[in-house]
């Protein structure tokens, strides 16, 4: 009798484990991190999921060393809506790290953040498609 109970417990545990694995929330609510690059730089963009927080841009050269640029600007555009927001200049925070504050997106949806990087070799631009939820 005790053994039968143990078998039942094992079965229930297996089923519960499977259900938990299926229903476990994935993705979480952390910031969205996207990596891309240009001919000269590797760029990493970190966006708070809500879309109202700051956007952090990490710029490195092709070997991965942080790069100091003359200026970094983030241009948020909602292409489907034909809606461009005022470009937001990003402020240097540390080696290769730039942060654009107050990126107040009026709505969620498919946004494209174009990052302009003004460096010694001219201006590089890279576009990140970002789906802002909420």
């Amino acid at each position: 009798m005790r053994r039968r109970g143990a078998w039942a417990a094992v079965c229930v545990a297996v089923l519960a484990g499977a259900a938990l694995w299926l229903l476990w929330p994935r993705g979480g609510s952390g910031p969205t991190v996207l990596r891309s690059g240009t001919e000269h730089y590797r760029v990493r963009l970190t966006v708070e999921r809500s879309g109202t927080g700051p956007v952090t841009v990490d710029v490195a050269d092709l070997r991965g060393r942080p790069v100091t640029l003359r200026g970094v600007t983030v241009e948020p555009v909602m292409t489907n809506m034909g809606h461009a927001l005022e470009p937001v200049p990003a402020v240097a925070q540390g080696p290769g790290r730039y942060r654009a504050e107050r990126l107040a997106l009026p709505m969620g949806g498919a946004w494209a953040f174009t990052v302009l990087m003004d460096g010694p070799g001219g201006t590089d631009r890279v576009t990140f498609p970002v789906l802002v939820t909420g």
Binding site: L34, G37, A110, P129
Partner: protein, 531 residues
């Protein structure tokens, strides 16, 4: 069973390993029943591993060939990117050259050398250790022979997602965006495969326990599990056709590595209207004196934001179909190459002085082909060596073009009613599909008689681009490409002219790797009953 390097194969007379001794002891105690458990575990693992594989293997081909016409400088090339079957893996690129130049005569029209470069362009969330997006990952030289035909080379792609192929001839270079797909199965498909695989495994387990177990209730455990797994599998299979398709990366939404690799888990826009604003076109020429070879630069900007348009799709085998009508009525049908964001370039010999009318057909991501007419056109001043104007072409009837007899027949052309223009080139069925079509017919009008054609076309109310499609054999997976010379000799075009008047027509077909353009004039009458 595979042996690790250094493993010594036991020989007769060797000491029996501990595991073998334990196994033989278990066999003595429990008989052959003890073999059942490891055999079952191996079987279940095999079923699970092999059972998951069809999700990757039996779907439709995930990609297809991409054909892109490129007018690089003044020569017309057809670039074909063959389907990528595995990533990382090879990408076959073929370049088809044509006889003669289509928009002028420049050096190196016959042969030459091209440099092909592959650059991944997609943003992605994972740090996969691959070379950064934006850098050249694969490069190859391609030597084009003097005779027109197909010249190919093989490049290598190392990740799925959006890419750009750069075709560079030393003077001009064009970028071709494309998406390397990843094998994808929808969540219900995955659940169905997993459910049926597990059900199969549990069925064997239930049978095994029924035969070998001494307890009556033990087979019921895997049997119940099998029923549950079967129900899961059937539910997944039933839901599979009902699952909404995610938006197509590259076609409907901007492609990233993430939405190509896992389109079902990537968040998707709430709004299913993917269309984008219309395009403005600015035209600049490097030369405005006749008799010179000019670079025509197009700047395409978004009608709403004014930003450069970076999302043109390949439609009808080109990013942009540029139509240029010269002052005396010559037509060029060119395919400018992408030189940068929103910037397109094409070489053109501006032979005659006067006004050139220009229009472009293009499609943005999200769908919808648009005809953009340059509001300014292009004014070209007289040069040192004036070129004879093109003679006024005739109406329907026979004529000879480049030594080939061409018959042009038209059913009673009447405004508001469908009119069919039949162009017969030569006597044999040896036309090649150009841009996927047996023929193209460009229609501009109605045009006043007194004005030069270029200036009249600038203000003409109708610019039409009519197709004669290539028949596709039933069941053929892909369409015939340009090397298949078995179409025609007739190309039939049906178009409804909205207004009566005099129209200019240019029918275009490909024959012997050369583009044949047949100009004509067509008088369209008012429909009976109209005043």
């Amino acid at each position: 069973m595979s042996l690790k390097r250094g493993t010594r194969i036991p020989l007769p007379g060797d000491e029996i390993p501990v595991v073998s001794r334990l196994a033989s002891a278990a066999m003595r105690t429990y008989g052959h029943r003890v073999l059942f458990i490891p055999a079952f575990v191996v079987l279940l693992a095999t079923v699970l591993v092999v059972g998951q594989r069809p999700a990757l293997a039996d779907g439709a081909p995930t990609g297809q060939d991409v054909h892109v016409a490129q007018t690089l400088g003044t020569r017309e090339l057809s670039v074909i990117l063959r389907r990528v079957d595995e990533v990382p893996g090879p990408l076959r690129v073929e370049v088809l050259t044509h006889a003669g130049a289509t928009s002028g005569t420049g050096p190196g029209v016959g042969g030459g050398r091209l440099t092909l470069r592959l650059v991944p362009t997609g943003a992605g969330g994972a740090d996969d250790g691959l070379p950064a997006a934006g850098t050249v990952v694969s490069q190859a030289e391609l030597v084009l022979g003097a005779t027109p035909g197909v010249y190919g080379t093989t490049l290598r792609v190392d990740r799925p997602g959006p890419w750009e192929l750069t075709v560079d001839d030393g003077r001009d270079s064009g970028r071709i965006p494309f998406v390397v797909p990843a094998p994808v199965s929808s969540p219900p498909d995955t659940v169905a495969y997993a459910g049926f695989s597990v059900a199969g495994g549990l069925l064997l387990l239930a049978l095994g326990t029924a035969v070998w177990s001494r307890r009556w209730w033990l087979p019921l455990v895997p049997a119940c599990g099998m029923v549950a797994a079967l129900a899961t599998g059937v539910t997944g299979a039933a839901l599979s056709p009902l699952t909404p398709q995610p938006p197509l990366p590259g076609q409907q939404v901007d492609a990233t590595v993430d939405n190509v690799v896992s389109p079902y888990t990537a968040a998707r826009p709430v709004n299913a209207d993917y269309s984008r604003p219309p395009v403005n076109m600015l035209v600049r020429a490097s030369e405005t004196t006749s008799g010179r070879l000019a670079d025509l630069d197009l700047l395409l900007t978004d009608g709403s934001t004014g930003r450069p348009v970076e999302d043109l799709l390949v439609h009808d085998d080109a990013l942009v179909h540029l139509l240029v009508v010269s002052p005396s009525g010559r037509l060029w049908h060119l395919h400018p190459v992408m030189a940068g964001p929103g910037r397109y370039r094409v070489g053109l010999a501006l032979a005659e002085p006067g006004h050139y009318a220009i229009s472009a057909e293009l499609a943005r991501r999200g769908g919808g082909v648009q005809l953009v007419r340059s509001a300014s056109g292009l004014d070209v001043g007289p040069g040192a060596t004036p070129v004879a104007a093109a003679p006024q072409p005739g109406g329907p009837g026979p004529r000879e073009i480049d030594g080939v007899r061409v018959d042009l027949a038209v059913t009673a052309p009447s405004a508001g009613a469908a009119t069919t223009v039949t162009v017969k080139v030569g006597e044999r069925a040896d036309l090649q599909p150009w841009l996927g079509m047996v023929g193209h017919l460009i229609v501009v009008g109605p045009l006043p008689d007194s004005t030069p054609v270029g200036a009249a076309a600038q203000t003409a109310p109708v610019w039409g681009h009519v197709h004669a499609m290539a028949p596709r054999p039933r069941g053929a997976a892909s369409r015939p490409d340009e090397t298949v010379a078995m179409f025609g000799p007739e190309a039939r075009f049906t178009h409804t002219f909205p207004e009566p008047g005099r129209y200019r027509l240019w029918a275009q077909v490909e024959r012997g790797y050369a583009l044949v353009t047949v100009p004509a004039v067509l008088d369209v009458t008012a429909q009976e009953g109209d005043s």
